[in-house]
């Protein structure tokens, strides 16, 4: 018979999966007013009870392992963890089977379908404490393949998105879009373009001649200076 205890995530690898406990239970550590480094209280699946048999404040802190490109703080290179209450995180126990010393290794992104709740293992909003919704992004709290819903330029609502009829009529254009409404410019377009280009190229020739004269004068000054030595 298979050992029933083996059907347990991370039993042999000392890995675990859990949820960050409410901000209120770890306010001083999160705000940097106490403790050290980055630590979060994590309720770990299978190890901590769903009920209130133990208080959140009795649950051990897990330190955070940062990514290799986040920086450790050395040479002023650092990125702070983007971890909030209600985030689901994964990690390992640094003390193996004793399971008293957890470290957070990764996070699992939130999906749009999550439902918030008050239970220990229920997701909660990340907007808490000093983290409040930004004006542009509003209260978005998911991370999925289609990306974040970002702002785009829109027509001011005062125009109600209607064409400027008066402006069109003033320019001699019809109210309704009509083919050929804008008249053809007078004369041959191609000869106009070549005349203007020819003039421009003549100006370039004058500039080149001037540049040659300047280089010749400089060269002469250099030669005189060398003769002096």
């Amino acid at each position: 018979m298979a050992n029933p205890d083996l059907d347990f995530y991370g039993l042999n690898t000392h890995r675990w999966i859990g949820i960050i406990l409410p901000y209120n239970s770890q306010q001083n550590q999160t705000n940097g007013d106490a403790g050290f480094g980055f630590r979060y209280r994590v309720a770990i699946m299978g190890y901590h009870p769903l009920d209130s048999l133990i208080k959140d404040e009795e649950i051990v802190f897990a330190i955070v392992a940062l990514g290799v490109s986040d920086g450790t703080g050395a040479a002023n290179r650092q990125r702070t963890p983007r971890i909030a209450q209600g985030d689901v995180v994964m990690g390992i126990f640094l003390d193996g089977d004793r399971r008293q010393n957890p470290v957070i290794m990764n996070v699992l992104g939130r999906t749009e379908g999550i439902k918030y709740g008050k239970g220990r293992f229920q997701p909660k909003t990340g907007f808490v404490g000093s983290t409040q919704p930004a004006d542009l992004f509003d209260r978005q709290e998911s991370s999925e393949s289609h990306g974040i819903c970002s702002p785009r330029a829109i027509t001011p609502s005062a125009t109600e998105n209607k064409p400027n009829i008066a402006g069109l009529l003033k320019s001699g254009l019809p109210e309704i879009p009509t083919l050929g409404a804008i008249p053809t410019p007078p004369g041959n377009i191609s000869s106009l373009v070549s005349d203007q280009l020819g003039g421009a190229l003549g100006n370039v020739g004058d500039l080149t001649g001037g540049l040659d004269d300047a280089i010749g004068a400089t060269q002469e000054q250099l030669n005189q200076a060398l003769d002096m030595f």
């Binding site: 770890q26 001083n28 550590q29 106490a34 403790g35 050290f36 480094g37 630590r39 209280r41 770990i44 299978g46 190890y47 901590h48 009870p49 048999l53 133990i54 208080k55 404040e57 009795e58 649950i59 051990v60 802190f61 330190i63 640094l94 003390d95 089977d97 004793r98 399971r99 008293q100 010393n101």
Partner: protein
């Protein structure tokens, strides 16, 4: 007189549903033999009983006509049955696990095996466990504990295993630990704590958690070593004399067989860090790695003056002393990441392993370095964890010089088995010791 048969003053089995019961003195079955086990490495006591049942041993409660049947079928004999037994032996006070009131003073059937089945009889073997053995499997601890480790252990024993304070023997610890149950079973949690517990009177870590017929023990290796030996010494010699000749109880304390299971192993001891150990710790709060080298050459590990031994404090082999001189200062490496702060928002290490890692390893490894197996006339006064004194005959022509100075001395009973049957009863002991000699170094 030695090896006398045991008397079963009480032996009855109650069915798993509690509705049916058979008694050895009123039903047609008999007990072939009983093995009763204790071990300092086992948190609960166990036993094995062989029963010979006739075809009319028990009345079935399901049979409206009240017909008799075999124990296995009619009682029925199955896992969960309760066994009440009171056994009297010649030397000790006997084993009394027959309490009607205290459910912790009886045994429970864990397994039933039918060894032989005939048309008129059957031989059944029952594997027994104590109440805390099965109760341990019904408990998962999620609570948080803080304070002295031994206080936490007491709470677990009382609230999770239901043991009364009178059946718990605990040596107070000096260190504290803040930890979560992490849905571990009580014995798993207690085993985790035993390695980390440091007794109050010494700095030598290492505890044992085990049950004997008297109750549950959470005691330090030091207190076992320093315990007073059993009142009588056991002697091993080639003389064979009838009790009628000796006219005293000499034969009651005679070792009938002695086998040396293990007598030191240099390479194993070196590898296990008994002589030299390096421990490396990482403190994630201070970002520091700390290396601690400790060796017997610096009067550390078992050469620590506070380290008590059962015999003469062992010497360091000169080959190793020479080795230390050329700078070979560690044989075993252990590492750990410190648990800083625990559940608190501070930066204090939570029961730092710096205090128990190396010393605990040495203590356990050294304690099991010698192992003897002996058989003696049944003595139910002896329990696992007791110290007994052996006097082993010296192999010499001059017997008047006394017992063998090296192999004689105090030993710890690591495990015992009391064996009872109608004709004889004996006790088999596995003894362990950390050092040689009759004289011990005691630490109080």
């Amino acid at each position: 007189m030695s090896g006398q048969g045991a008397k079963y003053e009480v032996f009855k089995i109650r069915s798993a549903d509690g509705k049916n019961e058979v008694d050895i003195y009123s039903a047609q079955f008999r007990v072939g033999n009983i093995y009763f086990y204790e071990n300092i490495l086992s948190p609960f006591i166990t036993g094995v009983v062989t029963i010979i049942s006739t075809s009319a041993a028990a009345e079935s409660q399901d049979d409206t006509q009240g017909r008799l049947g075999s124990l296995h079928t009619a009682l029925p004999l199955e896992a969960g049955c309760e066994v009440f037994m009171k056994i009297k032996d010649h030397i000790g006070k006997g084993i009394n696990l027959s309490s009607e009131r205290d459910t912790y003073k009886r045994m429970y059937v864990n397994e039933v095996q039918v060894i032989d089945k005939k048309s008129t009889s059957e031989i059944i073997q029952l594997r027994l466990i104590s109440k805390i053995a099965w109760r341990n499997n019904t408990e998962r601890i999620t609570k948080h504990f803080r304070g002295r480790i031994t206080e936490s252990v007491k709470k677990i024993l009382k609230s999770n295993l239901g043991l009364a304070g009178s059946r718990i023997k605990v040596d107070d610890s000096s260190n504290s630990y803040s930890f979560m149950g992490m849905t571990k079973r009580p014995f798993d949690l207690i085993a985790m704590l035993a390695k980390q517990t440091i007794p109050k009177n010494t700095a030598n870590p290492g505890y044992f958690a085990f049950e004997t017929k008297s109750g549950f023990n959470y005691v330090s290796a030091d207190s076992i070593i320093n315990a007073k030996p059993y009142k009588k010494s056991y002697h091993y010699d080639g003389k064979v004399q009838a009790s009628s000749q000796t006219k005293n109880d000499d034969n009651d304390y005679k070792i009938t067989s002695l086998v040396v299971n293990k007598d030191q192993n240099l390479t194993k001891q070196i590898r296990s860090g008994v002589y030299a150990n390096k421990t490396i710790f990482f403190n994630p709060a201070s970002y520091q790695f700390t290396e601690i080298d400790i060796t017997v050459a610096d009067d550390k590990l078992y050469k620590d003056p506070k380290f008590s031994t059962l015999g003469k404090q062992p010497d360091v082999p000169s080959i190793l002393t020479d080795n230390f001189k050329v700078g070979k200062n560690f044989h075993r490496v252990q590492t750990a990441v410190l648990n800083i702060g625990g559940e608190k928002e501070n930066i204090d290490p939570n029961n730092s392993p710096e205090f128990y890692y190396a010393a605990g390893t040495t203590r356990y490894n050294l304690l099991f370095s010698q192992s003897y197996a002996i058989t003696i006339p049944c003595n139910t006064d002896l329990e696992a964890g007791d110290v007994i004194r052996l006097e082993i005959e010296d192999i010499t022509d001059k017997k008047e010089q006394g017992p063998d100075q090296k192999s004689s001395g105090n030993y710890i009973i690591q495990s015992l088995c009391h064996y009872f049957e109608a004709e004889k009863s004996v006790t088999s002991l596995t003894l362990i010791r950390d050092s040689y000699g009759l004289h011990f170094s005691k630490n109080t």
